[in-house]
Symmetry: C2
Subunit: 109 residues, 2 copies
DNA sequence: ATATATTATCGTAATATTGCAATGAAACAA
DNA sequence: TTGTTTCATTGCAATATTACGATAATATAT
């Protein structure tokens, strides 16, 4: 299979899992952390920063762009990537709600 | 390949991606939400609650247990699952730090 | 026009993930 | 003991993910 049965889950559950999935690879985590650290757009040098081949980085960037977490502006021959503030915030709201669920006061475990 | 090159990333980046990966499937999100909602241990009925076959649920539970996010106590013929508070909190710290990174004030995008 | 630089896409190989039927293991009941 | 219940494990098929070489596409420079 390898195919999640998304139709049996809520939109919220599917959304959470889609965001989580994109964070489920260290290269994409590293890309995002770098974009935050640089505190500005970054044109190029992501391939040097992360240690993967250019097509691999390009593919990871595409997935981040597909979810709307980053955007890329073309600047001459290079592309300038940065965090999409609004979409990052919406994503954060959803993920925080999930992570901040009250921890049950279980009396049996 | 299908194999992440974890050795080129920091421990933190790998940790974040491992936690995120386990949240990257709606069934596991649903299981965790149910454990939070019940606000107690749950013995059985996860298979009825989620709509997947018993071996499938068992496999998802195993992954959550491997990461330490839940624990299971055997009670007679059934097993009682609940959130592992301490580990959930540590996970939350790591994920919140990642999600709460300051949004760059980009002036180019 | 030709060359250079940067990023995207295609194609492919290796590995991982998902789901479930079949089966096993363990505790309990009659 | 025999049956029942509950959960775990095995084995397998279908699909997804990861990585990268080769190549295309685009813009700029000479």
């Amino acid at each position: 299979m390898g195919l999640a049965k998304t139709e049996m889950f809520t939109d919220e559950q599917n959304k959470i899992s889609l965001f989580a999935k994109v964070f489920g690879h260290p290269a994409r985590v590293a890309i995002l952390q770098h974009l935050f650290k640089i505190d500005a757009c970054i044109c190029g040098d992501l391939v040097n920063e992360i240690g993967l081949a250019q097509p691999t980085i390009s593919q990871h960037l595409k997935e981040l762009k597909n979810l709307g977490l980053i955007k890329g502006n073309v600047e001459g021959t290079s592309v300038c990537y940065c965090i999409d503030k609004d979409n990052w915030s919406s994503m954060k709201d959803i993920m925080l709600k999930f992570l901040n669920q009250d921890i049950p006061n279980t009396n049996c475990c």
